[in-house]
Point group: C2
Chain length 349, copies 2
DNA sequence: GACCCGATTGTTATCGATATCGTAAGCGAT
DNA sequence: ATCGCTTACGATATCGATAACAATCGGGTC
């Protein structure tokens, strides 16, 4: 199947400008601008002429020029640890869903679970003069924090409940969620609960979950310290499989494992299958995040669910409100929205 | 844990401009511009003064203004069907990896497997005057195609081998890959092979895979037409589970199922577990895409692998080359790069 | 008829950077 | 001393839109 070339490839001509459209329609550029934004008052008659000219020239508005004069770029910067994680891509999706109707465009960046990288990204993003910024974390390098604070745009921190928020927050306490999960396992009769997570502190949400686990086992009077740290965040399915082996070998009496995410939990369960360890008979396994794989695996995986898409939507809404305030010269009041989480018990525990 | 407010929240002041930096450093704006791009000739002495001023004022370059005069925005528009699919997010990641070093920023959009939505997105993206655009498809609405052709920027189509490329291509034939998979199953002895895919033609890659399946069973003289269409693309794990039940009930003698993606394959396998149908004893199941879950599931899933991240990297490189050509007033020659795929046999077949 | 009003359109200045060209200084060669 | 060349930097025009204000027009009010 040899691809054929189109016989005529149009010469890459410089795109038309608004002035050219205006000339063709016999009006001024300003009128064209108004007609295209459909906010200004333009008579039906002229609007038709203008749209005709737009069509004939194949004109598309140049927002990068408009941004300069209107001082609003229509960009919303969004920083997520990784896009290859359905929790965060769901959040990104929720954000898009809300803002795209308002003519806003998301500028997405990956921090790789790394605060240094986040700092660089913040700087790079500010370079594009976004109208607002949404970050997926409550902790930042001092410089990143300073940049965010002095950017003069609304900031939304998500997926966390920072002690000292920069501006707006849409999140939940990862530690509390993890703690609730351990308590639930306790109620079910498990007394020897381990934790599987990443090896570095880069992933602050992961660290918080571990913290919640530790608090819970302490307050329940269970054996403590049964944690396996394995690999750099984000810990993969494969790593979860390796970690569960370490956990069981190191503490053979462990009867339940809380994993930092569903992905590692899934890997752990599959490894148990392979080794003939019954789940939850030999060992119960729980995850975090309610990924699709947890609902669909066999056994289905006990997990903590948060509505990721909704975090995005809410963050988007908070940002839109703030932008609206800014536009009307009101000083937006910082807000904190706590989204609910829920422990979902399934067959794996 | 009540969040506390910072005691002093800096007044959201308008960010500093280059002219202010220039004034503070006692030079002209032009010199500041040169110092910050580090390409122009600026003495060490002045550069130090300028960087000091930049630091004191917390100045960050405004690329949105720079874009207007330099006529290069530094944006690369990237359209993917869905970001919540690790294949495409890997590709997006590969693109970022290559372009971010060049000061380019990705503008990501989701088409939702919908050509109409793609058309709208193309228009919206062109509004930002990207320097280049990468799309994840070889088929487009006529209007979208016209816009892409006349945008005057390099275009890269990926994940497909279009019959009539717009400009550059980095992809593979989904039909050939699917066909190869069926042949492999045939070699293993399977003679009654079904196909599970989405119900609409929106997902052109999915449709191509089905086409490859059909061709293969025809040329092998196997029973044809054993396809289940279930749900709108992207077909989920859950839907894969439901589809396999339909398939087996409708053609009880089916001994193997090819799924349009690993996700549906995984769902199908888990459903088989639940029903006590041995995989591959009762029925063999294969997927497409080599998602992490396929490597980690039990049994591991036979699939077709393509290096998604590499598709992104190559697409990024092709684009950079083209941009380089444009910048040096060379007319870039359209290119087609075919990336390899590979059938990976695992325990599920 | 004077005046005001709303609807529609045009004029001009401007957003914040960079392209382009110009200028001045320094330096070696003739 | 002059020329040519390089290096460092400034002045000005410009990119393509929009903000802000001005102008025009028809009609209604008093």
């Amino acid at each position: 199947m040899k691809p054929t070339r189109p016989t005529t490839r149009p010469i890459p001509k410089r795109p038309a400008t608004m002035a050219e459209v205006a000339a063709r329609a016999g009006v001024s550029a300003m009128t064209v601008s108004r007609a295209l934004k459909s906010d200004g008052a333009v008579s039906e008659e002229t609007r038709r002429k203008i749209l005709a000219a737009v069509d004939e020239l194949g004109y598309v508005l140049d927002l990068s020029a408009g941004a300069l004069s209107s001082k609003r770029t229509g960009f919303v910067a969004v920083l997520v640890p990784s896009i290859n994680n359905s929790n965060f891509s769901d959040t990104a999706r929720g954000i898009t869903e809300i803002i795209e109707g308002q003519g806003l465009q998301m500028l997405l960046g990956y921090t790789d679970y790394d605060m240094e990288k986040e700092e660089q990204l913040v700087q790079a993003m500010l370079t594009r003069r976004p109208d607002g910024i949404i970050v997926t974390d409550g902790r930042h390098t001092p410089k990143a924090r300073r940049m965010l604070e002095s950017a003069g745009i609304p900031v939304v921190e998500t997926w966390d409940l920072p002690d000292d928020p920069i501006d707006h927050v849409v999140g939940f306490s990862n530690a509390e969620a993890s703690r609730a999960l351990v308590h639930r396992l306790y109620q079910k009769g498990y007394r020897n609960i381990g934790f599987i997570g990443g090896a570095s502190r880069r992933d602050t949400r992961g660290a918080d979950r571990r913290l919640g686990y530790t608090r819970a086992v302490e307050e329940l009077g269970l054996p403590v310290g049964r944690t396996i740290s394995f690999g750099n965040p984000p810990i993969s399915m494969e790593q979860g499989g390796q970690a569960i082996v370490h956990l069981v070998q190191q503490w053979p009496d462990v009867d339940a494992a809380v994993c930092v995410s569903d992905l590692s939990a899934f890997g752990a369960i599959m490894e148990c299958h392979r080794r003939g360890w019954a789940v939850p008979g030999r060992i119960a396994i729980a995850g975090f995040g309610d990924f699709e794989v947890s609902r669909c695996a066999w056994p289905r995986i006990t997990t903590v669910t948060v509505d990721c898409r909704n975090i995005g939507r809410e963050a988007g809404r908070v940002l839109l409100n703030a932008l609206d305030d800014v536009q009307h010269d009101r000083t937006p009041a910082p807000s904190t929205l706590i989204v609910p989480f829920e422990v979902i018990e399934r067959e794996s525990t």
